[in-house]
């Protein structure tokens, strides 16, 4: 990148972490924080033992149990017997390596991408790696979150580095004004629908523009969370005063003079005005409405007032076949309206939408009303801290009285690797990030949407139309 043209935010953070440019063209990158979860780390520790290697910097590493944990209130490692092996391996591996461990019995336990910001582990201008593709969530704080596979988890454990080809800089610029009541989830779903699940492949995506500046930190975390659904491993937003206010007094955030020094550094973390991006996308937010997915990839999204597409109108034969197959899997018809489609399950949770603002938003619609007959509805807070904060606000009472299950923290029905599974053929509307075939269980059908849309669907028993979503949300 020609520095005469200015540097992107991404260049600045990446370059500050480059230990070496390797002969093969890749970079050796220092990893400031490494966050582990139980389903992608066991084999990494196993290989370390086999090769006689140790964890290089255990202080920079944090582990949690989140994917396979039971979310039943008062759960323990024994509550979900099929998950016990991986949970116990996480605990014992962390203990023997001297790594902080947030197990199901810890008051700060939660989904990795919820607790990394909450605990102040993810900081602007830093690099955080985790064996999970939604690690880009922490980009909402201006932190480069890199999702890695298990071999790379082992590599970070052994060396505190990653060897990576530098992604190309891309910027998505959000202009106009988001209509009242719309959320970051609608923004990112609309974006994925517009540029597709491979539109960000090979890129590090900076989200910017006036609409992004107006978003709360939790909304930014939601937006950056789904970067991988654009095909991008990295997605982030420049830090600002809101970021600084969010981080102050977080457990592992810097304190005192360190915090003051950090603020000076963080305020300089922006793309230079002349910086060049290899790909730029502009999105006018004024016309965006509540989004819902109809198909089996996250780019299959429409307005909740829209209809299922007609494959007959699609020229490309491969795309036509894919859309036809998705319509069959989802048991829909071309041209069918989405609103009014009966649902069996409504799920509020996941690393995308399980923070306090998400639960507050959903509760504002639910208050004083009741879940429709024959609908099972669940709220799974993203962390035990979120759960306590929500309970302090009385949200648990609102949800319970409305007929929602109120659970302990975990990934739950987003990855459905624990016992929270959608039965075959059932239709679930969820605040999650993936609607792939079989994602929430064998033959499950998933519609992804915002907490507002999912809450309204739980009450109505069907996908709602826009007129059914009334709340006073501001920049969720």
């Amino acid at each position: 990148m020609n520095s005469e043209n200015g540097l992107t935010l991404f260049d600045k953070i990446w370059n500050a972490h480059r230990i070496r440019h390797l002969d093969d063209g890749r970079d050796l990158i220092f990893v400031d924080r490494h966050v582990l979860q139980e389903t992608t780390s066991a084999q990494a520790f196993d290989n370390l033992r086999k090769t006689g290697r140790s964890v290089r910097y255990p202080d920079l590493t944090v582990a949690t149990q989140d994917h396979i944990v039971s979310t039943m209130p008062g759960r323990s490692e024994d509550s979900n017997p099929t998950g016990r092996e991986l949970m116990q391996l996480m605990r014992s591996n962390a203990r023997s390596a001297g790594i902080r461990h947030y197990g199901v019995d810890h008051p700060s336990q939660g989904i990795v991408h919820v607790i990394a910001p909450e605990l102040g582990l993810a900081l602007p201008g830093s690099i955080l790696a985790c064996g999970d593709s939604h690690t880009s969530t922490v980009g909402g704080l201006g932190c480069l979150g890199i999702g890695v596979g298990t071999s790379e988890v082992e590599h970070v454990l052994a060396t505190q580095t990653l060897v990576l080809s530098k992604p190309k800089p891309m910027r998505i610029w959000y202009e106009g004004k988001l209509q009242a009541g719309l959320t970051a989830k609608d923004l990112i779903l609309h974006t994925i629908g517009k540029i597709g699940v491979a539109g960000g492949r090979g890129f590090a995506v900076e989200y910017a523009g006036p609409v992004i500046e107006a978003l709360s930190i939790e909304a930014r975390l939601t937006l950056c969370n789904m970067s991988i659904e654009l095909g991008a491993r990295l997605g982030f937003i420049a830090p600002d005063d809101k970021t600084i206010a969010y981080l102050e007094n977080r457990e592992f955030a810097p304190k005192g003079s360190d915090f003051a020094q950090a603020c000076i550094y963080w305020r300089g973390l922006q793309s230079d005005p002349q910086a060049e991006f290899e790909k730029e996308v502009h999105i006018d937010c004024t016309t965006i409405s509540h989004q819902v997915s109809w198909g089996t990839t996250p780019e299959d999204v429409v307005s909740i007032d829209g209809v299922v597409p007609d494959p007959g109108q699609v020229d490309d034969p491969a795309r036509r076949d894919r859309i036809s197959k998705a319509i069959r899997y989802m048991d829909l018809n071309p041209g069918q309206k989405l609103s009014g489609l009966p649902i069996n399950i409504a799920f509020i949770g996941s690393c995308t939408n399980s923070r306090l603002s998400d639960l507050t938003l959903a509760a504002s619609l639910v208050r004083g009303r009741h879940v429709a007959a024959n609908v099972r509805a669940l709220v799974v807070p993203g962390s035990m801290s979120v759960k306590r904060e929500a309970e302090a606000l009385g949200l648990d009472v609102i949800f319970r009285e409305a007929g929602f299950e109120w659970r302990d923290a975990g990934c739950s029905m987003c990855v459905s690797i624990n016992e929270d599974v959608v039965p075959p053929g059932a239709r679930c509307i969820a605040t999650t990030n993936r609607n792939f075939e079989n994602r929430q269980g064998p033959k499950s059908r998933t519609h992804i949407a915002s907490p507002a849309v999912v809450a309204a669907a739980a009450l109505a028993g069907c996908i709602p139309d826009s007129s059914m979503i009334h709340h006073k949300a501001e920049c969720f």
Binding site: R20, G25, D132, V148, S151, E152, A198, A253, Q261
Partner: protein, 226 residues
Amino acid sequence: MSTAVERVEGVMALFPRCDINTDAIIPSTWLRTASADLGKGLFGGERYDEQGREVESFILNQPAFKQSRMILADENFGCGSSREAAVWALVQFGIGCVLAPSFADIFYENAFKNNLVAGIIDVDTYQELKALLSEHPEGMAFTVDLHSLSVSVSDKNNPKHNRSWSFKMPASRVQAMIRGDDEITSTLHHKVDIADFYTKASNEKSWLFPDHLIGQMADATSNKTS
């Protein structure tokens, strides 16, 4: 990783779809233990019915393709979850090479770490191979050679029918795979650089490595025995 790979030989199975995701390659139901038979779970969602019986029409259940050694797929193979189990499932089934016009970023990295050849082919090659495989439902064996970065099919009875296509793979990855290099070993050659970098960063950005994070393990952990 330690086993060197120079060549993959065997039947190629056609998956003529874009965006084949890692949930499809290995559904989460197969990820509940550290020791699952992932080869059996490969494409489990479409390979088995609700009773767990093999779906006859699914390509890897057809007799000619049960021993498939390579896969041909359309754009963006391996998108979605970072689960390396997707690569392990392919490898444990016996797949040594996936050819596609493009791969998702994390899958691509994971593939090389497990000696799975992820060869990028141009769209014309994809279409030609797809047409050829569609004409041969009885199964067709190919040879993927890392030295020449080629995929070829030979007909001993009629050498005129021999055909070959090229694929792309970064030269450094090719060499690493042929030598059976272990990336962690390579990185540890830089361990002094890494330690120096960390020391310098700790001095210049003390805010990034605050005292209450470094060396305060015992108080924060919940590592009590359960």
